[in-house]
């Protein structure tokens, strides 16, 4: 596969490490959320046959975490964003 890195352009998927569902960005606050919320956050994921937003890490590159929108059936990649931008857009700060 080839991932179009927002900064570095087309890069071979071999340079990346895969993590999983981009929902991992939405970590609950440990001081207010309980075990149930963290359990859902960590273990309950959708497993779609189709569009999937997922985290990839450019380990053999610039160390950016990316959110890649990929079709799990065809492997077509329709969008690649910096995970930091996605996190900010979802209201994450400090």
């Amino acid at each position: 596969m080839i991932i179009y890195h927002p900064i570095l352009g087309p890069r071979d998927a071999q340079e990346f490490v895969y993590l999983g569902d981009a929902g991992l960005i939405d970590r609950p606050d440990g001081m207010t959320a309980g075990v149930k919320a963290f359990h859902d956050y960590l273990y309950n994921r959708d497993n779609p046959a189709g569009e999937h937003r997922e985290l990839w890490y450019h380990e053999q590159g610039d160390r950016s975490w990316l959110v890649v929108t990929r079709d799990t059936v065809t492997h077509e990649i329709t969008k690649v964003e910096l995970a930091r931008d996605v996190a900010r857009a979802r209201g994450r700060a400090k």
């Binding site: 960005i25 970590r27 994450r92 400090k94």
Partner: protein, 966 residues
């Protein structure tokens, strides 16, 4: 031997003669020959024995679809089993041997299997060798594997190199027949970067095997030979892989050249011009040497100047079979009869053309001697022939188009499957691979595909070429008699086996494949699959489209494991890293151990030490007595800077770091989000906004990745920057009562206990100005420091410490002594940090602060992880001090039966402690913290151990920690 079957013409260089051997006998051929064509030229038809029945077999094809003529090529380390003689390019000195026969190819003792064929039908193994269960692995399978099989693997190392390479292009053309050449020509003339691949060593595809012209020139001349590559498969996003056979046509690769290169091809567009493969027709005893697909007879005559037999017949259901008969006759071969299953149409002039007839049986023990024909009127006739060409039609080579699971669709007009709609994006199909069977259509669709793929405006003119339509009336198998009619010759699958599969309700093609093995092994059913599924369709009353094909997967043809491995073998299997003290350690004859990618010193033997324990015990005792030095460069080091660095560390560590004073360090425990311990290490605060974290050697990369995830994805507004400095600093642990005395001779600053107290950290200089870092931390339990200098000074620092500190008799200790000392102190490491254990299990539960949010804090409080009677880290020593312990042994109460239900824990790490004079161990024991002082057993059924032990505190040496604060 003479080349008795050589006829005129062909694309071989008759001015040169190549010598080769097959099964030890010498033969001759010419450049341009394959091993198969050269053997056939010498009158050799018998080239192998079949997989199951050990039937005598010869080649049925002239290409990569070959199921029968598999040989062991070359010898020694270069021996290559299961090589198709039909694609192996002949070279001078080639040696090949037949396989799956004993004692010889002509007399094979296992031929008895053929007589017992009733017992060897599909499903035989599954039904027969089921009981008793334990017999399968030990008895049945080895016997079956010996009796049924392909070639043997050499036990020697392959002496040749294999490389990997990467190429980029605008257009990848797969197949260099008329379609592919026209596509490449079209794109190339438009200035595009084109990669043309073909599995043959001569470009041109079928043009090399035909007599007709392209434009004014013979087809073969129109195609020029260039490179030989075989395309392996289509992957995602325009990535394809291909193997270039750089040196397979040579006895040994030229100096510095690899045998093969595995190319990864990146392309915007690709055109599949893979042509088509002729399929046979199944009839009784259709597997004798001398019986081939008709196009192969034609190819051997036209391309290689070889007649397969003296008296030849052709059995066909389509016009292409007639072309074979005409070409052979034109070459002067005696064509005895053409058996045409169709009725009507023009009769071939000057040839005995029998319409509405079928071949129903054959004879000939080691090669064809006669065929039996059933005429249209039902009369039978036996005709003496020594070669028979069979044409059941042509299957487009759709494989690569289907590597993304696209299902091919059935085209009744050519009685074959053509590519479906949903192939890999950017891949167009043209020519015979798309069902366009004539040369004219091949050229036209090849050109048009290139125009469409690259959006080109101008097209080269098409040369004139034949445009004859396919006329075919499907005939899959001849219904006659009770004998066996082969579909898949490689796996010995017959029409009967398909009937049996149907009878047992394995009617889906995927089940048919698994039940009968149809289409497995090296040829992947290129000649047999469609016949098999068509017969299944006939038996079940379903149509061929309803029956469908199995899934196609890469590789298209077999790939040597060497090509997939490339340079990644032996010491180059993965990169390895050397510590700054490696050169010194090597000079001392140190023993090294792989730790991740690192080679670390395991111990450093001294003269007279014959056993590793002598060295390790000495290193431990010397360190605890005076001073020892250990290279700890391999630990991960991460510089963490920014105004939020402290707050960031509070989030990623279970304990608190923002409160750490500048110039101090602290042990940190890092959890995964699921509450399990991830890693540990000390982190020092070097400045207000600057920390240096250390990680374990094993987790250096994954911790860094995790920290970047936390920084970028969880808290993107934190002002914190990370950089790995593992490689930047050479770091040594200096431990023992004389550690400070030794370092005082090196370090420029005052490092007295007051100036540099326990858990102190700071920037210093050594040797009169070299920048360095000092940390007063201890893994060994001794008064200890870790000193770091820029990596390139590591070797010099080590030598300087040994020289300046000579009066203290410093020793270098390795990972074994390190392990002994940390276990004596009850520090956790690999065996305890096993990815399943919590801080509570390790006796570190209080380190997890609930006053702040940190990764893993919430889930570490889960019910299942907070059981007060759960596993706890304990120390263990045997009651009988001479008894041995082994890591991995399990805890049992005294008197409990050694069964899993009574298992209450296990030993994680074990060493011999020279201070305590016995084996000691760490382990996880249920409610272990309440069992200190009690006696238990440790049981290891594998090692036959059942030993009484005492449960003790994990802090087995200097439990009060007086030494390290000294």
């Amino acid at each position: 031997m003479t080349q008795s079957h050589r006829i005129v013409g062909g694309q071989i260089d008759r001015t040169k003669t190549l010598s080769f051997t097959f099964d030890g006998l010498p033969y001759q051929g010419h450049p341009g020959d394959t091993l198969a064509s050269a053997l056939l030229a010498n009158g050799v038809r018998l080239m192998g024995r079949s997989f199951k029945y050990h039937r005598p077999r010869g080649p049925i094809s002239s290409g990569s679809e070959e199921p029968n003529a598999l040989v062991e090529l070359r010898s020694g380390g270069r021996q290559e089993p299961n090589t198709r003689a039909t694609v192996a390019e002949l070279y001078d000195g080639l040696t090949a041997n037949s396989q799956n026969r004993w004692p010889s190819l002509r007399f094979d003792a296992m031929g008895i299997n053929d007589k017992l064929s009733t017992f060897f039908a599909a499903g035989f193994y599954y039904k027969t060798f089921m009981w008793p269960k334990s017999f399968w692995e030990k008895l049945y399978e080895p016997i079956i594997r010996r009796a049924a099989g392909l070639g043997s693997v050499t036990r020697e190392e392959d002496p040749d190199d294999y490389d990997k390479g990467f190429l980029h292009c605008d257009l990848l053309v797969i197949g260099a027949g008329p379609t592919g050449l026209m596509a490449a020509l079209t794109a190339g003339r438009a200035g595009k970067r084109v990669i043309l691949t073909d599995e043959d060593f001569r470009m041109g595809g079928r043009l090399n095997a035909e007599t007709f012209a392209v434009g004014d020139a013979p087809g073969a001349d129109w195609a020029a030979a260039t490179v030989a590559e075989l395309l392996v498969g289509a992957f995602d996003h325009g990535i394809y892989s291909a193997v270039e056979r750089v040196s397979d046509h040579l006895p040994t690769p030229a100096a510095g050249k690899p045998r093969q290169i595995l190319w990864r091809l990146y392309t915007g567009k690709a055109i599949l011009a893979g042509g088509a493969t002729e399929r046979p027709i199944a009839f009784e005893n259709n597997d004798r040497p001398g019986i081939m697909i008709a196009g192969a007879l034609r190819a051997y005559a036209n391309r290689w100047g070889v007649k397969v037999g003296e008296r030849v017949a052709v059995f066909t259901n389509n016009d292409d079979g007639l072309r074979t008969a005409k070409d052979l006759q034109a070459k002067g071969v005696d064509v005895v009869a053409v058996i045409d299953s169709r009725q009507g149409g023009d009769l071939l002039p000057g040839i005995r053309h029998l319409q509405g007839a079928e071949v129903i049986d054959t004879a000939g023990k080691l090669g064809l001697t006669s065929i039996t024909i059933r005429h249209a009127n039902g009369r039978s006739e036996t005709v003496a022939v020594d070669a028979l060409g069979v044409s059941g039609g042509w299957n487009p080579n759709v494989n690569i188009h289907s590597h993304h699971r696209s299902r091919p669709v059935y085209d009744a007009s050519i009685a074959a499957f053509v590519p479906g709609q949903d192939g890999p994006p950017g891949l167009l199909v043209a020519g015979a691979a798309a069902g366009q069977m004539s040369t004219h259509d091949a050229l036209k669709t090849g050109r048009d595909a290139a125009l469409a793929a690259l959006d080109l405006g101008t097209a080269p003119d098409l040369p004139q070429a034949e445009g004859a339509p396919i006329r075919i009336t499907p005939l899959w198998h001849v219904a006659h008699g009770k004998g066996r009619a082969w579909i898949d010759q490689q796996n010995d699958v017959t029409v009967k086996d398909v009937k049996l599969a149907k009878q047992e309700n394995f009617t889906s093609v995927e089940h048919l494949k698994r039940y009968t093995t149809l289409g497995m092994a090296t040829d992947q059913g290129k000649t047999g699959n469609v016949i098999g599924l068509a017969i299944m369709a006939e038996l079940t009353g379903r149509s061929i489209p309803e029956t469908g094909t199995t899934i196609y997967r890469p590789p298209y043809t077999p790939v040597a494991l060497g090509a997939l491995a490339g340079r990644s073998r032996g010491t180059e299997f993965k990169p390895f890293r050397l510590t700054p003290s490696h050169q010194w350690a090597k000079e001392q004859g140190a023993v090294f151990v792989e730790v991740g990618n690192w080679l670390r010193t395991q111990w450093v033997p001294k003269a007279g030490e014959t056993e590793w324990r002598q060295s390790v015990d000495r290193e431990v005792l010397a360190t605890r007595k005076s001073v020892g030095i250990c290279d700890v460069t391999t630990l991960g080091k991460i510089d963490i800077q920014g105004t939020d660095a402290g707050a960031f560390l509070d989030r990623v560590y279970a304990n608190t770091f923002s409160t750490l004073a500048v110039g101090k360090c602290r042990y940190g425990l890092m959890l995964r989000e699921d509450g399990i311990v991830f890693d540990d290490g000390t982190t020092a605060r070097m400045g207000e906004n600057e920390y240096v974290m250390t990680t374990t050697t094993a987790n250096a990369v994954t911790v860094f990745r995790h920290l970047e995830f936390c920084r970028q994805c969880l808290w993107p507004e934190m002002d914190v920057q990370l950089i790995s400095t593992t490689e930047a600093w050479a770091q040594f642990s200096v431990a023992g009562p004389n550690a400070r005395n030794l370092l005082a001779k090196i370090v420029d600053q005052d490092i007295s206990d007051t100036a540099f107290p326990y858990m102190g950290a700071g920037n210093i200089t050594v040797g009169g100005g070299l920048r360095a870092r000092l940390f007063r931390i201890s893994f060994s339990g001794e008064l200890a420091y870790e000193i770091a200098v820029p990596t390139r000074y590591g070797d010099a620092l080590l030598r300087e410490m040994l020289a300046k500190g000579a009066e203290f008799d410093p020793i270098i200790y390795g990972t074994e002594a390190l392990g002994v000392m940390r276990i004596e102190k009850g520090h956790v490491a690999g065996g305890e940090l096993n990815g399943q254990s919590t801080a509570l299990n390790m006796g570190l539960g209080k380190m997890v602060s609930k006053k702040k949010d940190s990764i893993g804090m919430v889930l570490s409080q889960r019910e299942g992880l907070t059981d007060e009677n759960g596993y706890r880290l304990v120390g263990v020593k045997p009651v009988d001090l001479h008894a041995k312990l082994t890591a991995g042994s399990h805890f049992l109460e005294k008197g409990a039966a050694p069964v899993a239900a009574n298992d209450v824990g296990w030993l994680t790490s074990k060493v011999y402690s020279p201070h305590l004079g016995c084996d000691i161990a760490l382990g996880y024991l249920k409610a272990g913290d309440k069992k200190i002082g009690q006696r238990m057993r440790i049981v290891n059924l594998l090692a036959g151990l059942d030993t009484e032990v005492e449960i003790i505190s994990p802090h087995m040496f200097d439990p009060e920690g007086e030494r390290l604060r000294g």
